[in-house]
């Protein structure tokens, strides 16, 4: 069948054009004909279970689901008739009679409930059947979201999303008939599940209030929110976020469906950790006075820094930045670099080689969605790049792609792997095994991370490439490097020195003035204290300036604390692992006296 072949059919008397292979629903939608749906969802396999999209096809006595039925050239389709309206209406009545769908006390009562919407459309003003309402349990053991079976209509949108998008298949249905129940693993809970990644895609897919985000529950209607599209600050993948705010507070974060790589899907970090975790915000400059940090004005803080800097030789002044800063902040730091001895960006071990002038990547989405083999070398996508992990799982589970994991830590991906080795040996037999797994592979993708940049990692990489060279057929692997820092690539490109080992970098010369530009990075404070003797080193400084959004052990040691904007308040750009420049847009107003990182740097070194 030719996929581009045009077919013509009649829907509700209107002549419609479609492509061969499209479903009736797709042709109708493309021709502006509305067919009600409930269990159907874009980019998920059709289910045909909810019976809302049923249509009549001339010549067939039975109604068919438009979402799952291929459109046939020349067929005559009716999408609204008294019979169809009656069937849909009664189906809705049955759903309302089955479980507790009392809108006023439902967390989904915010204008985007699929069930409520269809009930309005079909004029369901009364339920003629007795309410069954079995008493069903709730699962609120998950950290970010809960599941209330009483509001579930068993449309399986969550099941299919979990299986086909995140690729973990944590959810499924148990039991038969009216005893149907969504289950987590084998009757586990979200809190105890071993497979759930807490990505929250199931919640985003749920048309009713059965799956709900805890932080968002009863916070009002989503369609009264302001939506801002920005970029996820959590990792270098750079997924698009659609942030919903009301009265200057974030209400909900979803993936941006138009973002090329994530297409609406996010990982746990992007969907929840960007905004849901309880950090203590710094909203004004603070100065240490008699051993205690006291709020001061910006002028006082800046004047104090200037006083100490004037007394400190340039060669003993150092600035170290977080890899989460924007390109603009990086450029601002680079502009004032002559006023300091060294300016660096704090990378992960071995990350430097990965981020120094990398080739821009093209076509990554196609490579990831078509790959028939994934080789992971020294990278932890499940931990660091959740979206990439979902691509790997989808490839392995839906397309039977091969998966080889070399020199990576243990992760959930191991169970899908053909080969998973913590420390690769260079034995011939091992590489023969690798070659065997890759024998028939045509479109391989090699994902490598920081651990691939160690001497051993490089040796393994060379050996791998040799395997591909010896292969009879198939493309050369698409090489995709995945740094750890959100904007490591952009900041190094802006001229900041790549610092992998902070200890020796600082110890190389005596330092008396240290400016730490953390921005909204909340992990760096802890990393600092994991380094040897760093806590002691802080005591030897004349001045420690910590520029940060959140309180951390570092701010507790600082002489001066400068309040910085978070990702949600910033304007600027970041450069993702593909080399694309992605915009950060302000979602909410700046809190307190916080300022943008670039502006602070400029003010300090003016």
């Amino acid at each position: 069948m030719n996929a581009t072949q045009t077919i013509t059919l009649t829907i509700n008397g209107k002549v419609c054009e479609g492509r061969a292979g499209q479903t009736i629903l797709e042709v109708a939608t493309a021709n502006d004909i509305y067919i009600p749906t409930l269990c159907w969802m874009k980019d998920r396999s059709p289910w045909g279970g909810c019976r809302m999209c049923i249509v009549e096809v001339a010549g067939s006595p039975k109604v068919v689901p438009a979402c799952a039925t291929p459109a046939v050239a020349g067929s005559q389709i009716t999408t609204n008739s008294p019979r169809l309206h009656n069937l849909r209406r009664m189906t809705l009545e049955l759903l309302f009679s089955e479980r507790n769908h009392i809108c006023p006390i439902c967390p989904m009562n915010k204008g985007d409930c699929g069930l409520q919407h269809q009930a309005y459309l079909h004029g369901v003003d009364s339920i003629r059947f007795p309410y069954l309402y079995p008493a069903l349990p709730m699962d609120v053991s998950g950290r970010y979201f809960g599941l209330d079976h009483n509001r579930c209509i068993l449309c399986t949108r969550c099941v299919r999303t979990c299986d086909e998008i995140e690729g973990v298949h944590t959810l499924d249905i148990a039991n038969r008939g009216e005893r149907n129940l969504i289950v987590v693993d084998m009757h586990a809970t979200f809190g105890t599940s071993e497979t759930c990644t807490s990505c929250g895609a199931c919640v985003a897919a749920c048309p009713t209030g059965a799956l709900f985000d805890k932080a968002q529950t009863y916070r009002g209607k989503l369609h009264t929110c302001t939506v801002v599209k920005t970029t996820c600050p959590e990792c270098p993948v750079g997924c698009g976020l659609a942030v919903y705010t009301r009265e200057n507070r974030i209400v909900e974060v979803f993936g941006d469906p138009e973002s090329p790589l994530c297409a609406g899907h996010l990982c746990r970090k992007g969907r929840y950790e960007t905004w849901a975790e309880p950090r203590r915000r710094i909203t004004q400059p603070m100065l240490r006075h008699n051993g205690e940090l006291k709020p001061v004005s910006w002028d006082e803080a800046l004047a104090h820094i200037r006083r100490v800097r004037d007394a400190t030789p340039v060669w003993e002044s150092v600035l170290l930045a977080s890899p989460r800063l924007t390109n603009e902040a990086g450029q601002a730091i680079h502009r004032v670099a002559d006023k300091l001895d060294r300016v660096g960006v704090w990378l992960a071990p071995n990350e430097g080689a990965l981020v120094e002038a990398p080739e821009p990547l093209a076509d990554v989405r196609r490579q990831l969605t078509e790959a028939d083999a994934f080789i992971l070398l020294g990278v932890q996508p499940s931990r660091d790049h959740g979206l990439i992990a979902s691509y790997v799982r989808r490839g392995v589970r839906q397309r039977q792609a091969r998966l080889i994991i070399l020199n990576c830590r243990r992760s959930d991906l191991d169970r899908y792997a053909d080969i998973a080795v913590r420390e690769v040996s260079l034995e011939r037999a091992f590489w023969a095994q690798v070659a065997e797994v890759l024998r028939d592979v045509q479109r391989p993708v090699l994902l490598y991370g920081t651990e691939a940049m160690t001497p051993i990692g490089v040796a393994v990489l060379e050996r791998l490439l040799a395997v591909f060279e010896q292969k009879a057929s198939g493309e050369a692997p698409a090489l995709i490097g995945l740094p750890i820092g959100t904007n490591s690539i952009g900041l190094v490109a802006a001229g900041l020195e790549a610092v992998e080992d902070v200890g020796s970098w600082l110890d190389a010369k005596p330092v008396r003035y240290l400016h730490l530009v953390l921005g909204d990075d909340h992990t760096l404070g802890e990393r600092w204290f994991e380094e040897k003797y760093r806590a002691l080193m802080l005591e030897t400084l004349d001045l420690l300036v910590v520029q940060a959004s959140y309180e951390s052990p570092l701010t507790a040691h600082a002489h001066v604390v400068l309040p910085a904007c978070t990702w949600a308040e910033k304007t600027g750009t970041v450069t993702n692992f593909e080399g694309r420049t992605l915009p950060l847009k302000p979602v909410i107003p700046v809190r307190g006296q916080a300022r943008d990182d670039a502006a602070i740097v400029e003010a300090v070194y003016a």
Partner: protein, 625 residues
Amino acid sequence: MIRAHCLICAGAGCISSGAHALKEALTAELKQRGLDNEIRIVETGCMGPCDLGPVMLVHPEGTFYQKVTALDVPKLVEEHFIKGRPYQPLLPKEAPTGAVVNTQRDFTFFAKQQKIVLENCGLIDPENIHEYIARDGYAALGKVLTSMKPEEVIAEIKASGLRGRGGAGFPTGVKWELTAKNPVKPHYVICNADEGDPGAFMNRAVLEGDPHKIIEGMAIGGYAMGANNGYIYIRAEYPLAVKRLQIAIQQAYELGLLGKNLFETGFDFDLELRIGAGAFVCGEETALMRSIEGRRGQPQPRPPFPAQRGLWGKPTNINNVETWATVPIIIRNGASWYGQFGTARTKGTKVFALAGKIRNTGLAEVPFGTTLRELIFDIGGGIPNGKKFKAVQTGGPSGGVIPAQYLDTPIEYETLQALGSIMGSGGMVVVDEDTCMVDFARFFLEFCCDESCGKCPPCRVGTRQLLNILERICSGEAELEDLDRLEELALMVKDASLCGLGQTAPNPVLTTLKYFRDEYLAHIVEKRCPARVCRDLLQFTIIEEKCVGCSVCARVCPVETIFKVGGQKKYYIVQDKCIHCGACLEACKFQAINKTSEGEGFIPPPRPAVLELPPGRKPTAVVTS
């Protein structure tokens, strides 16, 4: 020198009534009398009349013995094998006349049947491939592989007029052609042996009695459709069938009738068993395929049909056990031979499982066009205990009921459908005047509601709401508008459900509403169950003249509502506490308990002035507020 063959039915029915004990006793007896070299015992598949089991057929005379127990063996051997005359007490009797039947061919139950699919059932040892081969087994496969092109095989099946025996009656040859012509490779063939209808066991009989016929049929189908792999999806509740199939497949592999290079023609065919986990809905073909794939057994919308996208997404042909078993016979004898049986629209024969209120419970194979009356009254022997025929339900739990006025309808897919029922896989449940049709509909709807997979709301919730209405009617709580709601919802569930389970589940309701509406009205308006079945609508009273005062009823009454009449040897039921359980009725040996359903017009017998506690009962504490 073998002079006689003793065929003991080893179908599941006869085994449960003691066929194995019979065989052991017979073996021991023959050995003791030194006859073990002259008389051979063979365990066969089902012979059909399961109600008469354990049954035994002795050749060469063809004497048919019924209800043979191990205790009968010494006498039987003495009479039949030593003295050479049939052992009279174990011969079956013709149902209406009571005439003793000497041989199998004289027995109306067998004489009126046309055994084609069941030709070997009850005749050969199903665990011995050589017995099957001796009955021309695998000759059809040989013929197909060595002298026919795949298209010719399909043409032959098309010409025979064979239609799918799974229920819908789709022409088998046309279905095969759809799969055969699909350019996507590989192709698969599947045998649907997930026979789940309550009271239906025709597929089990073939699986247990003639497993090779299915294997041969599938291999022929595989050749015709270009499939090298086949699956038999069989339910786990048929352990004997599973065992015999496993033996049969192994034997076929050993003789090279399955596996690589069959008949040296280069055609490979592998066959695998898949055991179902007990879901009724897995008999639906798309759910069945998902189950084979190891996924949750839930139906998928069609189209795409299995011939377009089936197992593992590849073109697949699914046929029922009976369909596959018919294939080798058609190939062996030719399409025109097969065409002589049946009617113009529907060729061949169909096996029916007779169950319910019928004398000869069991399996019967008749040509299409046989009337319901011939099947139920001639072969089935009619209704036992002098009761009146009320209706017959065809096609399993989701079939409709057909009342007495349509008994002369010839059995065909179309005729049954016109009456609101279905052919289904061939179940026939006969009901007599003692059956309440509302309760009957409720029973089968409960089954479908329980077995609904839950994928679509019309079936998942609709059947439950239907069942609730029926339960209200049965308990006398319904109002007239419930009847309209029942009908509207039943039609909606039929129209809107995704798969055949939901689309047919309301059939018992709709057909009983059509043919027995007066019974519904009696329940709703008069609060009366005409058949005296629905417990909440019954009244139990004691007939004074017949009561001898034995006190049994009072002692079995679980709610202690039967009292002694003061000063008399009589008992009396106080109505308000009676739960209509019927324990007293069962216990009374003097037919002194009267069961009635008189509705709101019921007036209990006058309450005696003094009621005494029956002997042995302690006074119950009176609860005062």
